[in-house]
Symmetry: C2
Subunit: 231 residues, 2 copies
DNA sequence: ACAAAAGTGTTTGGAATACACCCATGC
DNA sequence: GCATGGGTGTATTCCAAACACTTTTGT
């Protein structure tokens, strides 16, 4: 971190950065975390939080560190989205960035008070502002991967609290697949699948109160095994 | 490429490399291309072909260039597998590698005569030798992504000739999913899906001769649209 | 009163699964 | 003649899709 120190190599090397696509579902809308850039390039534009890789860390560790530094959220990234290397993606020079997807639960949406100039904000996935760098590319790929993950992994349950209602879950799926599902079929499908277990209704029974469910890990894997056979 | 020239940066940078997982299906087995390393580290061990990123190219372009240089195969990579950054993955120092998946057709399996010391060879995916570096990690992730691609994209048809038989296609699926499918159900599924069109039997009709099909792009997309609804 | 949100059940069609036999070829 | 590989059909089961009404709460 010494500004005077120079690093010298026999061959050209690119600068390596990481970016975080952080998801949060507030029970109503799926949202992504953006920060408003305080410096050039792209000053005042919105971007995914990220920064430069350091010498003693993997890309995954760098992503987690940068996220914590910039937003106070301390959560390991879930999966790689991809690595972006367009020659002109950063006007400062040749940088290559690996983007990660991080999933947070509603209870984890607390943003630390902005200590650096950067302003952080959640944006609904279907109402995103213009993004800096090639972050539109990252966004596109993130959305696609999210759909694949929703098909094949228990990712949805890492975006909701441990206890959730089916209408809530359906709103999450609608946001991810950009499609409105039939409420009755949606509920039937997931209840019959064995993926969800109803939670004993705490106390007062209001007739039409939403029923809470929790994710059933064992049920999920037997369900996936059945489903993941032929292509 | 001047050995004397030094590159100097204000901050530390990693060396960036690319690796290619090249697939070929010979009608019977799915195979991957490996080269035997001629130099340390991991001298004489098998590895995926790859090399260092250069200044004026994207990762995708570097992957294609390296593949051509090392094997004579000139084919653009199809998709990224991931970026691998373990601190100890290369004993020479800190390198980060992005791996790509490349699909070739049976007719494209000609390896150029080895002009560098490297020896290149196709290995059946289920009979791979020990690999150099962290290439076992790359292999694992490549196999997983291939399964996802087989579920959602026309990748299988980029691994077969334009005209193919259903038993051939079934062997390909068996290799990818490591599962034996029922021949009758497999055929029924794909014939009824509209993805495949039978090819007019050229001339002589032998009673039990295999029937040739070709991939039907339009049929594929209407099929996917139906299938890709709920999770 | 009315709109909004959540609960519930039935029917129908299509796809996945399971399963057996015939024909031709090569050894 | 036997093993191998390829073609074909039927019955069942399960899941997906379509579809309407009631209750409660809040305005």
């Amino acid at each position: 971190m010494d500004n005077k120190k120079k690093y010298e190599y026999d061959y050209w090397r690119p600068a390596m950065t990481v970016d975080n696509v952080v998801l949060n579902f507030d029970g109503n809308q799926l949202r992504m975390l953006l920060i408003r850039r305080g410096d050039e390039p792209f000053k005042d534009q919105w971007a995914f939080p990220g920064g430069f890789l350091e010498e003693n860390e993997t890309l995954e560790e760098a992503a987690q560190r940068e996220l914590k530094e910039e937003t106070g959220i301390n959560k390991a990234p879930f999966i790689q989205i991809g690595t972006f290397s367009r020659l002109d993606r950063d006007p400062r020079g040749r940088t290559i960035s690996t983007a990660f997807l991080t999933l947070t639960k509603p209870s984890e949406n607390i943003l630390k008070a902005q200590d650096d100039a950067a302003e952080a904000c959640w944006f609904p996935v279907h109402n995103m502002p213009a993004l800096a760098f090639d972050h539109e590319d990252i966004l596109r790929k993130a959305k696609f991967i999210l759909q694949v993950l929703f098909h094949t992994t228990p990712v949805p349950y890492q975006l909701m609290n441990n206890i959730f209602t089916l209408p809530e879950m359906q709103r999450l799926f609608s946001d991810v697949f950009e499609h409105e599902f039939d409420r009755r079929n949606f509920q039937k499908k997931f209840i019959s699948s064995g993926i969800l277990s109803p939670v004993a209704n705490d106390n007062k029974e209001r007739p039409n109160a939403p029923i809470y469910y929790r994710f059933n890990n064992g049920g999920f894997y037997t369900y996936q095994k059945k489903k993941f056979n032929i292509g």
